[in-house]
Symmetry: C2
DNA sequence: CTTAGCTTGTGAATGATTTCACAAGCCCTC
DNA sequence: GAGGGCTTGTGAAATCATTCACAAGCTAAG
């Protein structure tokens, strides 16, 4: 398959969110222009994004909301559930473990791990926190595809190595440190301090950063 | 000033993080190549990023770690502290309010707000949660530059309108909904479900997404 | 059946970002 | 103070992403 830009995938996720709302509000079809407005982009961009994957609309008519939802879900790989483990049950790990926004999208938190004996055994939204020492055994059993790292920066690389060695194929890293993962493992980082710093840059150099 | 790409600013933030570590470990100078490795980029990219803002290195020698740190901090606008308010003291809002990673970068949480009377009055890392009704009055008094939104998606636009009307100039939105803000207000969104969806896409369409 | 009115899908053009490649500059040694 | 070895800073080239613009195709109405 051809190379798809990350920005395209990000927008598809946004379109899907809007399509779900739009469907709930009773609309049957939607045009690329309406979809564009929701995502802060242009109708040409919407059509181009979709065109990488096929042809989903009807000329003159637009897109059937329901069909397009299904198509985008399929493109993103959301027609099936994904199993997720969270490592680090501290402040951010606990918040994510209880986040409903994951479950509604088909991401199931099947395990939460911590090193601290005081946290082990506590329940987070139905899932018990388990000892970090059980990581390998549990991964072999539960076969989660995705690991979310919420451990301190010093521990992140070691945990990434362990979970990927044990078979996890994708990592979402919240620790503010760059991770090296083996070829073939998908990796993304969310760095909240960087987000604030980008805002600070925007405020300092008024206008140098294209406003979103 | 010329237009600076967001990707450049994001990398500068990363370089800065690495420079701080590098300085702590006793090194006095660093080359663009070493800096590149830390950020998963190339030496040419590092030099180009910096070249938008000036000339900071010595040919043959590289960059003085300390001086470059200071220069990047200045570029990003981090030589001065920024005041931040957090609206929504739920799971994610509480985690962010207690996050040390913000304070160490000069972002001071000067207020946390919630609508729920049960949360108002509780303390998060030294800051008391205040009633959301006091938002406008407090913004007038404390003059925070940045607002972090951790309220449910339905409430996010209304809160964004209120804080920007009251004088906040930048918004970091954690609610999974697109926000419209007036021209001149800097806005960024962190969407964790989208991050997982990008990983799901990567796992589904192995290789279609350039690995990071 | 034909026409009017929309909207898609997509090459081509434009614009933005990254990579290349090398002259210029600095330090160190001799 | 001249030469070797490195490394920066930066135009030019290449790649990548977005926007333009329009032919093609669908529906509905007459
Ligand atoms: N709190 C936030 O809002 C926030 C925001 C962005 C990023 N982060 C990052 O997320 C990470 C966690 O932050 P936090 O605020 O939740 O910290 P925290 O101290 O509340 O939680 C960290 C947890 O990780 C556990 N832990 C440490 N080493 C471990 C290991 N080897 N295996 C398993 N568990 C281990 C600790 O016992 C603790 O429970 C940090 O890297 C932080 O920089 C936090
Ligand atoms: N929990 C997570 O890990 C997570 C991750 C990503 C995004 N989010 C998003 O962040 C937001 C908050 O999520 P949460 O999990 O913390 O939910 P939560 O229910 O724990 O917290 C929301 C808080 O906002 C308060 N609130 C509601 N309306 C308000 C208003 N008008 N003014 C002030 N406060 C108000 C509520 O009283 C509550 O305390 C949601 O939009 C969610 O989708 C959460």
């Amino acid at each position: 398959m051809k190379h798809i830009a990350e920005s395209t995938v990000r927008r598809l996720s946004l379109y899907l969110r809007f399509l779900e709302e739009y469907e709930a509000s009773g609309h049957a079809t939607i045009s690329s222009g309406e979809l564009a407005e929701s995502g802060g982009t242009t109708s040409a961009q919407v059509r181009k994004d979709l065109s990488f994957f096929g042809s989903f609309g009807k000329r003159g008519m637009g897109y059937t909301v329901k069909d397009l939802s299904i198509a985008i879900r399929e493109i993103l790989g959301l027609q099936r559930p994904w199993s997720v483990i969270i490592v680090g049950a501290g402040k951010i790990g606990a918040a994510l473990a209880q986040y409903r926004g994951f479950t509604t999208r088909g991401f199931r938190v099947v395990g939460v791990y911590d090193r601290d004996p005081a946290r082990v055994g506590t329940k987070l939204d139905g899932v018990s926190v388990r000892p970090e020492a059980e990581l390998e055994r549990d991964i072999a059993k539960l076969k989660p595809e995705i690991a979310v790292l919420c451990v301190p920066a010093e521990a992140a690389q070691a945990i990434a190595d362990r979970v990927t060695k044990a078979g996890v194929r994708a990592v979402l890293n919240f620790a503010p440190t760059p991770l090296k993962v083996t070829e073939g493992v998908a990796m993304r980082a969310v760095n909240m301090a960087t987000e604030l710093e980008i805002l600070a840059f925007g405020l300092t150099n008024g206008g140098a950063l294209p406003v979103r």
